[in-house]
Amino acid sequence: MTGSDLTTLTVIILFGSLVSGTPLLFATIGEIFSERSGVMNLGIEGMMLVGAMSGFAVWSTAFTKWHWTNGSAILFGLLAGMAFGCILSLLHAIITITLRADQVVSGLAVTFLGAGLSSILGEHFVGIVTPLPTKITLAVLGSVTVEQLAFVILGAVFAPLAWYYMHRTRPGLDLRSVGEYPAAADSLGINVYRTRYLYVLFGGAMSGLAGAAMSLVTDPGWVDGKTSGLGWIAVALVIFASWDPMRGLWVSYFFGLLRRLPLDLQNPALPLISTANNPQLGRFMDMLPYLATIFILILGSREAMRKRIGAPAALGNPYIRGERGK
């Protein structure tokens, strides 16, 4: 293997990690907004699954039945994924904000419901193959499609915008104040319930988008349990990103790399560390993203202790207007 081959391979792996990290990015930033308003939604995995299934179903209907072009069908699928993620998160919002139920348990219920629904309704779409994607002719990005490139750029633009919105605009300030001290925000005329509903729905839409992107753009196709725990990793990344969208961007890309690595290492062209002839090592490589999540939480917790930065103060507490102490 020559040096230039290795460079190409590195570029492929690095860009691949951006591609597989971008869905994670959307889910993580959506959850950051939701948690900043004081509502934890552990149902990301379920919303992503529903988004992935509905997005793929809509795409396949539009593409094969209505004979849309592939691009517009994908766009329509992504929007459908967002809409269905939104609907599922609405359920969570009603249960936790209006009915004041426990956010942890409700989030789990969202996950169960999403996993079950996507499995039942997506049954007919398993195994449908997507058309050959348009490849980019640039030599270094040999294995990349136009959609993937567009999606990565979208994600890279989205994160700074989200940061700007949260930290430099009035609605962003309102959002953070609702998560820190809802009673004070309420007394200043900010509608706590409406704000929380809004951002929980936004988080749901982003998770749905992330799921739809997985089944349409980054790794086209639908299988049952498509997201394989990525939604839960997004929940962990929110903590590690200390509720900051820009940090969310970096950690998402890093986890994208960890997710790709086991696949890339199967490439027999790699010297020394290839797992092509060593499936046992491959199983350990599969554990990597999950182990890294725990490891990163340990690192993050030490930093959080040192810097005293952390969760929105009202995270997890239902707001009851007129009650003391919340």
Partner: protein, 414 residues
Amino acid sequence: MKWNGTNYRLRIEARLDNPRWIGVVSSIFGILFALIVGGFVLKAAGASDPIGTYRLIFKEGFGTFADWQAGFQAWMTNTSCPKGMLCFGPLSDTLVKASPVLLTTLACIIAFRMKLWNIGADGQMFMGAWAATGVAVFLLPKTTDRVVMMTAMALAGISAGLIYGVIPGFLKARLNINEIITTLMLNYIAYKWIEFFVVVGPWSIGDFESTGRFPAPATWPRLTELAKQYPITAGLTVHPGIFLGVIAAILLAWILFRSRWGYEIRVIGDNPRAARYAGISLEKNIILVMALSGALAGLAGMNEVAALRELNGRFQRGYGFTGVIVAWLARLNPLAAILVSILFGGLLVGTKLIQPQGISSMLQGVILFIVIGTELLFHYRIELEKVETVPVPIPNNGELPTESESQAEASHDR
């Protein structure tokens, strides 16, 4: 809200008592409502006859009345089950499924009572199964006495689950790391761990992705082994594992409601601040509870491999998650969990053959939603009250009272 010319207002106020009936009613309501919603989903997915599907689930899970009648008759006359009837077959399958569900449910209950969200019962169960298999197949000789063998397996399963539960417990207690995430990640790691050993790794026999059949002393005896004396038991795979769960449930109920430690756990769960002022150590209890929780889940793993009689790559995932639902449906009561587990065992058996595979998961999600959605009824009394439209006296300066003033009045009367 206006209705029939009168103004109504939804009034939500804190409830001081905690009536028991609400829990039972909302659990039953949850199941019924979930079945209705599930029927619509099935219809949407293209099933022509949702009610027929449910009937099939019930028949597969529990059998029909005619089956039981035939079973009892055969039992009394000491003959075998008549041809074409299921007799106690479905009930037996349900009890087999219910025993790991019950143990993982108990693991969830003890943790949830302290508001410690151990979602990792699945992973702890896998590790328990792994350790028990190691003892049964590779450590002890094939001819070990059954009691010794089973005890050693149980101890191995319990310790493996315990260690796997203490890891997130320790991280939570010392570094305040969210236990939901760590237990979940440990689930995935445990799945891969089993795959490593059984599918590709050192424990698999050839390409079978399995450790092969356990030696006889390492397996639960099945009821069908009595078929010579009692022909009715022919084919029944039910094993004593369910008693393990029932005993554990009774012990756990005693711990929770009769012991000092259980009292501490409940105080921490209800009000951690009060617990700290009372001198109850949070750190110690987090680690201890996670240890017990993991141990129970580990025991579930040992129970399951001893029933399956081998550890293979298809070792069932998801018992830990079913445990979460059952725990909630049983209102975190270990004794109620026995009944609900058997019900869910039936659901799992019944839905195994139904084609959309996700139906059991979907039903569980809806049930959980309903149960926690009606939780509000526990703590608050919701009333629809008439708003009397008293003509507002106009103050001298002619200004109407502002909105905040009338709200201050409204909150005054609670």
